[in-house]
């Protein structure tokens, strides 16, 4: 922890970066994102099993980008990122939202995080993304901290649920999701926390013509949740923030993961793993399957 604080403080003092986006502790089992511009404030930086937020969501915010232009020469942004958050950063770079040269990634060897604040870290409370985590080491970084850790092995309940849904009949699946989406209150927390939901104006906020009804009745909820899931399919890096942020506990991760599994199965593509290849939905291959088309 001390090395992280010292490193961050040095970066700011040297004016190598305009701000450090990091985690600060607010209570025993809770951390909060913080945008630190003053070297003295780095003393509150932390990194542990309670750093749940995916901070890359801040990288596309105009107000954060503006911090880089406060002095004469444009500066970088430093971000503390778990290895899984680095995938989101990679996806953002691939989609031309940020430049690799503009950010300074401080990453960690990760030992897993809890699924929600306030819980004791154990294999029962492990976040579902950590259970099937294949990237405890970041794929890209400018500075790496921490020793290699082991994530406790736990049952992959999410995958079990996906298989269970897969084995249901079409009607049962429709009923299941209708019931889940019915809970939605359209607070759009899922959209707000998603690093890849960076549109200046979301399609659901456009009302002339009104494609997605803003009412949170069944029809409006259904449209919103399908469109959200579709816009993220094959792009979602599986950080699980939407599911955690949802106040109504809608299992959004089930849909996101299913689409990720499909992308892997059909195109051997996993989002946010490499800067060398283009995004899946942003590119095409003439040899793609024609199976779907009559």
């Amino acid at each position: 922890m001390e090395v992280l604080r010292k490193y961050a403080s040095e970066l700011l003092e040297k004016k190598a970066v305009a701000a450090v986006i990091g985690y600060v502790r607010v209570s025993d089992k809770r951390t909060r994102p913080a945008i630190i511009t003053n070297p003295e404030d780095t003393s509150s930086l932390v990194f542990d099993n309670y750093c749940l937020n995916n901070l890359s969501v801040y990288l596309t915010k105009a107000r954060i980008k503006a911090l880089c232009r406060t002095s004469d020469k444009p500066m970088k942004l430093a971000i503390t990122a778990k290895p899984c958050d680095v995938h989101s950063i990679v996806a953002l770079i691939q989609e031309n939202q940020i430049h690799r040269d503009d950010i300074h990634i401080i990453s960690f060897n990760c030992g897993g995080v809890v699924k929600d604040f306030g819980l004791e870290f154990s294999k029962e409370t492990l976040a579902s993304k950590c259970i099937h985590c294949e990237s405890q080491k970041p794929v890209y970084f400018d500075k790496l901290f921490g020793e290699e850790k082991k994530i406790p092995a736990a049952e992959d309940k999410q995958l079990q649920k996906i298989n269970e849904i897969d084995s249901m009949s079409t009607e049962e699946r429709f009923e299941f999701f209708k019931k889940e989406f019915d809970k939605c209150i359209k607070c759009y927390a899922c959209r707000a926390v998603c690093p890849l939901c960076y549109c200046q104006r979301c399609i659901t906020d456009k009302t002339i013509p009104c494609w997605i009804e803003s009412s949170s009745h069944q029809r409006g909820n259904f449209s919103w949740n399908i469109v959200r899931a579709f816009h993220l399919s094959a792009r979602c890096t599986g950080c699980g923030e939407c599911e955690r942020a949802c106040p109504m506990d809608i299992p959004l991760g089930l849909i996101n993961r299913t689409m990720a599994i499909e992308a892997k199965k059909s195109f051997s593509f996993v989002s946010g793993r490499s800067l060398e290849i283009p995004t899946l939905v942003g590119s095409f291959d003439v040899k793609d399957s024609d199976e779907l088309f009559m």
């Binding site: 009745h217 399908i226 088309f293």
Partner: protein, 163 residues
């Protein structure tokens, strides 16, 4: 509803350069095909947004067809290639959410394939007929939420009054 008498409503988003012209050819060649399908002409199959399809379902379509130029034939070079990947995911997503695969179909029909156009329309009409009306989605028009059954009642009674 009497299943024998019931006729499905199908929305077809067809590309201006191939499928729409193919439909023209089917007409001028006097090929007969079912009249359940309403054609909506778009510039490219790549320009069809998934919300168009959801809106069609909301407005009472029992099935949707999206059709464009064959691969390599796109007027805009790559529109249908992009569409192909996108529809692959959208189709899988709808399937996972619980919408029958046959409700949403895709095809490549060129300007010279009037016969194929008629065949595709006949096939999708037959498929949708055997599935029956898309009650599950239509029900959401009158159902508000599970939490407030009293709204469902009031909106149902008003729906009846409107009809």
């Amino acid at each position: 509803m009497d299943k024998e008498k019931w006729e499905p409503k199908i929305a077809a988003f067809v590309c201006n350069w191939c499928t729409y012209t193919g439909a023209d050819l089917a007409g001028t060649s006097r090929i007969k095909y079912p009249s359940n399908t309403k054609l909506i002409r778009v510039m490219c199959s790549g320009s069809v947004d998934p919300v168009f399809i959801l809106k069609a379902f909301e407005r009472g379509a029992d099935g949707v067809l999206v059709s464009g130029c064959h691969p390599n034939d796109c007027h805009y070079n790559a529109g249908n290639f992009h569409a192909r990947r996108r529809w692959d995911f959208f189709h899988k997503l709808l399937d996972f959410i619980g919408i029958e695969k046959e409700r949403l179909q895709f095809s490549w029909i060129s300007a010279s394939e009037g016969k194929k156009f008629a065949d595709v329309i006949s096939k999708i009409t037959k498929d949708i007929k055997s599935l029956g009306p898309f009650k599950a989605y239509k029900q959401m028009n009158s159902e508000f939420t599970v939490n407030f059954p009293e709204y469902n009642e009031s909106s149902n009674s008003i729906n009846k009054e409107l009809q």
